[in-house]
Subunit: 305 residues, 2 copies
């Protein structure tokens, strides 16, 4: 018996803008600058099935910092990287910009839906990633079917992934405003031992994906906002959480309520906005989610499934 | 007498890819990962004439880290930033990508040439910086004429800047391959006290800009490569320094030789590639440039002119 488990490294747990956010002086950000709360990079997860070849869920603008902070992602030769490719959950700048930082002649496989790929290919900057045949290898990410992730030269990774549509919306920089199921997905990663990570770092609602979340042994879920009106209350924005395509954690239709009874042994919030009170480990909001069986994902966390 | 001086903060001194570079295991990068050589962010400089309103030369992919590492750039209100805008020296991804990281509803003035602006506007991601009137205020950067940098609402900064054409080439992601004088510029910043910073972090030759460099009291010059064949010798690339539009430091036509006798009181190399031996303070190459009156710019350096 040598059943393979999956090793996961949480590379970042912050929503767009990171934590602290460059132009925010809210109490959370101010405390992060003073070192009273841990800073967080933008959400991403690395996964390997063989302790050698890694895929990353999303390419955050912080990807080069994330590599340097994660020893298994360091080069093991004079020029090269253990990173074989990416799985993109949508076309948000915060989930794709990192690709443009990895353009030093290293082949990468990129799994995404047709919608995300079409949107990205509108960007002329991507030409710098297509300087030679096989530099960026686009692979389709089907919705609903489990596939094995393959490296840019079709190398097997042993990582099996399944995408599922999650309520969202296309980013502003994509053509067309109508929502299509491939605009935003969650990812399930399965190990041969039967463990399953479900990663849904952005979803506008829990209801439509609850069947997917039920399959998780480890769940990483959108924890952008604590409440529906978080930005409005703080006078930092005009839109509600759901208008920004993020289900809030609290409230009758929030993720805590709607995820009640999920069988996952570990339930973690990620993609946390700088305004979210759960960033403070001593906040009543953090206490409430812990009481209800959840925790907050931390940068650098190692998970085995 | 209250003549204004300019305060400069060196925000980064590395060439594209930063130092260490994510997929490089060369001895410099390996030593940086071990903490034996200081890590460096990508090249950028912040400038203020009033200790309050700042402009940045180039928007590096590291800009949010650079803000966090530089206390005067922290927000002083609940939402806001002392950063009023940017001056772009070309359209390289390494000099513009940071704009996409600063899209949280903060107005910014962007000074660049018509060539750079046209290239950037081809990028649909920039739409996220044009969500409201006045979010991104494009300002022309004339070649040869001194202008005062104005904030996004025309606020005076007291910073006077003059761009000069520097030999270079348009980035791969821009339309058309022919070189135009506005594709790549150096920047001169003048204080009322008569001091002048000349910033030319990318130039393919010194000869055509030597008249501009002669005006500098403080000079920050392209130090990408020590030698013309640095990448080829190390088997890390096929192109020479000049083919990549960077004058090497050494050699008969290198910047050390061609800058002999420049009157600047302080001459510093920046935009240093991870392969460059001058990254090691104890290298013979570093000793040679120090002997010849130069030094290496360091992240975090404060300069007054």
């Amino acid at each position: 018996m040598s059943e393979m488990s999956l090793e996961l490294r949480v590379l970042g747990t912050a929503a767009g803008g990171g934590f602290p956010q460059w132009n925010c002086g809210c109490s959370n950000c101010a405390r992060a600058r003073l070192g009273e709360l841990p800073a967080r990079l933008q959400d991403s997860v690395a996964v390997t099935a063989n302790a050698s070849d890694w895929f990353l869920l999303n390419a955050s603008p912080d990807v080069t910092r994330q590599v340097e902070a994660t020893r298994p992602l360091w080069p093991r030769v004079r020029r090269g990287s253990p990173i074989r490719g990416f799985v993109l959950t949508n076309g948000d700048i915060d989930h794709v910009l990192g690709l443009l930082l990895l353009r030093e002649n290293h082949p990468l496989a990129v799994y995404c839906t047709a919608e995300v790929r079409a949107g990205l290919l509108e960007n002329p900057m991507l030409r710098t990633l297509m300087r030679f045949e096989g530099q960026l290898v686009w692979r389709s990410l089907p919705i609903g079917d489990e596939i094995e992730l393959l490296g840019p030269a079709d190398e097997r990774s042993g990582i099996r992934a399944r995408a599922f549509a999650a309520p969202g919306k296309p980013p502003l920089h994509f053509p067309g405003a109508a929502w299509a199921p491939g605009d935003n997905v969650g990812i399930e990663l399965a190990s041969e031992q039967g463990g399953r990570l479900v990663y849904a770092s952005g979803t506008a609602a829990v209801g439509p994906i609850v069947g997917d979340l039920e399959r998780a042994s480890v769940l990483l879920l959108d924890g952008t906002f604590w409440s529906e009106t978080e930005l409005i209350e703080r006078e930092l924005g005009a839109r509600s959480a759901r208008e920004m395509a993020h289900v809030p954690i609290s409230g009758r239709d929030g993720s805590l309520a709607r995820c009640e009874g999920l069988p996952a042994g570990r339930k973690l919030f990620t993609h946390i906005n700088n305004t979210n009170p759960i960033l403070d480990p001593r906040s009543p909001e953090r206490a409430e989610l812990v009481t209800r069986g959840w925790d907050v994902a931390e940068d650098g966390m190692r998970l085995l499934i």
